[in-house]
């Protein structure tokens, strides 16, 4: 771009420098469908869902829990918190820990552990490849999974996607990704959700790691992807975009000082659940009209799950609005026409039947 035009645009706040967010309309039209879903399990920070021989399981802090048991029967527990989980075709599961190790539970490789790769320290998502290998999303080269907010505020794009074959050999498929948080293999390519670009990106297999956009300009930060039996795709989006956060991201000086001086919980940044403490910025307000809370400031947290067609175009969505109790959805799965989702912000795993409800 012409540097002069860039400078002018930056001054006027237009073009690439415009501080705007895409509307939640069309397929993203708000509703209360997530809030209407009955709760299956309440657990601390339920994060990643997977289907195994135990049925639907969820990672919660250091444990793997069964979703179909109200008390969340524990399947396994670890010495570190879990940051990613995937079900394997043999009924087992691969579990990514926050220190970078990958542990297999059940199935053929049950009990084995892949040692930490120094270049893969932020495992955010795992997915089985069709050839038996394991695909890994490494969110950031500098921050761990718990420091995702810092990674956003530092405007990093240091994430990568890796492949580990059955012999344990690791290869990097693509780098320079803005916090890859979800993975899906698709006919010779991998579709990755890049949280900080608010986009889905296709990575073509091959040495060059060629990338192309699949879906851009999402109204929220995307996380895990899953495919349903009917070939439609389910995408969890863990926090909404807001003009305020976009503005803070454009103000380097302010952001730097905020990172240095303020506790991360109180940053002007998206979060999995907001409104819980009066120390939070700009969240303690609003009025109730007709029984619906109208926040005077855009909410920093939200619950959102999107259904995409096989070509990755949004066709419907389920929401938990500002006053809902299903915020911070980081994972969703469609199993037997029932949609399961983990609302990490509110510590709830819930499910509902889905019969093509559209927004």
């Amino acid at each position: 771009m012409n540097p002069l035009k860039k400078a002018v645009d930056s001054w006027f706040g237009r073009g690439e420098a415009s501080i705007t967010i895409p509307p939640m309309d069309g397929a993203f039209r708000p509703n209360d469908l997530l809030d209407l879903a009955p709760s299956n399990l309440e657990a601390p920070a339920p994060d990643c869902l997977a289907v195994t021989s135990h049925g639907v399981i969820v990672s919660s802090d250091r444990s793997l829990l069964r979703v179909d048991k109200p008390d969340g029967a524990e399947i396994a527990s670890f010495d570190m918190a879990i940051s990613a989980l995937t079900g394997l075709p043999d009924g087992g599961a691969a579990v990514g820990l926050i220190d970078g190790r990958i542990v297999f539970v059940g199935g053929e490789r049950g009990g084995t552990t892949l040692a930490r790769n120094p270049e893969v320290a932020c495992i955010t998502a795992l997915a089985p490849a069709s050839d038996g290998a394991l695909l890994i999303a490494n969110g950031s080269a500098t921050n761990g999974p718990a420091a995702w907010k810092r990674d956003l505020m530092e405007k990093n794009a240091s994430g990568s996607v890796w492949r580990i074959d059955r012999q344990g050999r690791a290869s990097c498929l693509a780098g320079d990704l803005a916090y890859p948080y979800g993975l899906l293999e698709e006919a010779g390519s991998i579709v990755v959700s890049e949280s900080w670009r608010c986009a889905l990106t296709r990575i073509f297999s091959g040495a060059d790691g060629r990338k192309e956009p699949v879906l851009e300009n999402l109204p929220a930060y995307p996380s895990r992807l899953s495919r349903a039996d009917d070939k439609t795709i389910w995408l969890a989006l863990f926090a909404p975009r807001s003009q305020l956060v976009e503005f803070v991201l454009s103000e380097d000086g302010y952001r730097g000082r905020m990172i240095r001086e303020i506790d991360a919980d109180y940053w002007v940044a998206p979060c999995l659940r907001s409104g819980a403490t009066p120390l939070e910025p700009t969240q303690q307000g609003g009025v109730k009209q007709l029984g619906v809370l109208k926040p005077w400031s855009p909410s920093r947290s939200y619950g959102l799950v999107a259904r995409l067609d096989p070509a990755f175009r949004p066709i419907a969505s389920l929401h938990s609005r500002a006053n809902g109790r299903r915020h911070g959805v980081t994972s969703c799965l469609m199993v037997d026409k029932r949609l399961f989702f983990a609302a990490k912000g509110d510590g709830i795993v819930a499910s509902r039947t889905y019969e093509g409800l559209v927004s």
């Binding site: 006027f12 706040g13 073009g15 415009s18 967010i21 895409p22 309309d25 069309g26």
Partner: protein, 518 residues
């Protein structure tokens, strides 16, 4: 001169008693344009203190009838009587002297003058004290309950407020007969209520009112009697209470059109699924008219935008199409097929396939001194399809023939001037001028305002077929049944932003109106 024969009224349910002389009477009045009969032996009587609605399709002769009464055109035959005396209305000034005032459908104010100056236009003295004029105008407007600033220039006002000034001017002239031509087309429900109260007041003061409206419910509500014209002929005159909407339409078009027009609500089988996202408007702002509005438009769908006058719908559409500009600082973003765009002129938008069909067809929609063919060709030469810098007469004629045929434009030939056509056919010319530009996104702003029911059905069908062909279609309308029947998706605008999105299944008159006003 021999006495003209007695009028032949096909149906006069309540003829006035012999003792009561009509205030205004037309006897066997005819008017021909270039040998084409616009009015054929019309008999019309207006009583003192009555509200008399004249309804009919475009081309039925309503406008010609009131133009004769207001002195704009002279009749080819027949006579006019005022309080029993034969008169000749040789011009608008004479009509005013006879106490006949006209409030035009398309406003006839001087845009560069202030409201007060327009109100007192023609009454200027050698020395005019502006301050006094403004105070007087302010008091007068307040007495009518019209919230219009007398010091504002007319060009800075929206269409609804311009119409208020027009009405105020007619009232100010102390007219005995006031002709309202589509007075409510641009008014909000509240403003309509004020207007109807005003009409009631005028009726009590024995002012006679001729009320022309395509909103049949209004004609049924407000008028004492209704006259229906069709193809320049008088069809029926009767008490308003003897009519229903259906019987009126049947008299107007000779067939029932109700289902054809607004039969869509509840019929969800015809809802089109959304295609690709064509347009994404993000946090768009323009002064205090458009305020941080965001919405998307999808291909293959009709997106209806409903809102009251002043809700920022038109302004948003005009920003998208490059007619006006958004705020210089942080005015938001418009993305066409994912690409950020900012049009300096409408032509840039047309080149990208974005076309806006204006709500003010006479002001912005066509060149009134040009022919149908020239107008359509003007649309063509601004489109990317046009390569040559030299106008081709053969191409112009071919295009005119193609679009006259496609849109069923009723005209003698393509050399006829657009201004001579009826409102519905003028609108079709404006639409042809837009469609010839091969748009990918087309925004219709009040596409059926001032258009008769027959043409409305044709325009609705055309809008639907454009969406079926895969175009992204936006219809801005203040008429709820139109929005409900046409839209595959409904956006509601209020105070400069889109505040609600409704699917056809959940949209009802109540839910849409609730979103528009709360």
């Amino acid at each position: 001169m021999t006495e003209p024969p007695l009028p032949e009224t096909p149906l006069l349910a309540e003829t006035p008693p012999l003792s009561e002389t009509p205030l205004l009477e037309m006897r066997r009045v005819s008017k021909e344009y270039r040998g084409v009969a616009a009015l054929k032996n019309i008999d019309f009587q207006l009583r003192r203190g009555e509200v008399h609605a004249i309804v009919g399709e475009n081309g039925a002769g309503k406008s010609t009838l009131v133009k004769i009464l207001s002195g704009v055109v002279a009749p080819s035959a027949g006579e006019i009587l005022l309080a029993g005396d034969r008169i000749q209305i040789a011009g608008p000034a004479l009509a005013r002297r006879y106490g006949i005032a006209m409030v035009y459908q398309e406003t006839s104010l001087v845009p560069t003058l202030t409201v007060a100056q327009n109100l007192y236009l023609g009454d200027e003295k050698f020395y005019n004290r502006l301050r006094g004029t403004y105070i007087e105008a302010q008091q007068f407007l307040q007495s009518l309950n019209f919230p219009v600033d007398p010091t504002a220039t007319v060009q800075s006002l929206g269409t609804a407020k311009r119409q208020m000034v027009e009405i105020a001017r007619a009232v100010r002239l102390n007219a005995k007969v006031i002709i309202f031509d589509e007075p409510t087309a641009t008014l909000t429900p509240e403003e309509k209520h004020h207007l109807f109260t005003l009409i009631d007041r005028l009726r009590e003061e024995q002012v006679s009112i001729i009320f022309i409206s395509h909103a049949l419910e209004e004609a049924l509500d407000i008028s004492d009697r209704i006259t229906v014209l069709r193809d320049g002929a008088h069809i029926v005159t009767a008490d308003a209470k003897t009519f229903s909407r259906e019987t009126l339409i049947r008299h107007m078009v000779g067939r029932s059109l109700s289902d054809e027009l607004y039969g869509r609500p509840g019929d969800n089988s015809r809802v089109r699924p959304p295609g690709e996202k064509v347009l994404s408007v993000q946090n768009l702002s323009m002064q205090n008219v458009v305020q941080n509005t965001s919405f998307s438009i999808f291909a293959g769908q009709v997106t209806g935008v409903f809102g009251l006058v002043g809700s920022g719908r038109t302004e948003t559409a005009r920003i998208i199409a490059g007619v006006v500009k958004r705020d210089l600082f942080h005015g938001g973003d418009v993305r066409l097929n994912g690409k950020s765009v900012r049009y300096r002129t409408p032509r840039d938008a047309v080149v990208d396939g974005v076309v806006y069909v204006t709500e003010d067809r006479k002001g912005d929609g066509f060149f009134e001194t040009m022919s149908v063919a020239e107008n359509v060709y003007m649309g063509h030469i601004s489109s990317p399809k046009s390569h040559g810098a030299v106008a081709s007469m053969s191409e112009m004629k071919a295009l005119a023939a193609e679009w006259t045929n496609k849109l069923n434009i009723k005209t003698l030939n393509s050399d006829a001037r657009v201004i001579e056509l009826s409102g519905g056919n003028q609108q079709k010319v404006v639409i042809a001028k837009a469609l010839v530009q091969a748009p990918k996104l087309i925004i219709f702003d009040e596409p059926t305002r001032g258009v008769d029911v027959g043409a409305i059905a044709e325009i609705h069908n055309m809008i639907g077929s454009l969406a079926d062909e895969g175009l992204a279609v936006v219809v801005i309308s203040s008429y709820l049944p139109e929005i409900l029947s046409l839209s595959d998706r409904i956006l509601v605008s209020r105070q400069g932003r889109i505040v609600e999105e409704l699917s056809p299944e959940e949209a009802t008159s109540e839910s849409v109106m609730f979103a528009a006003v709360h």
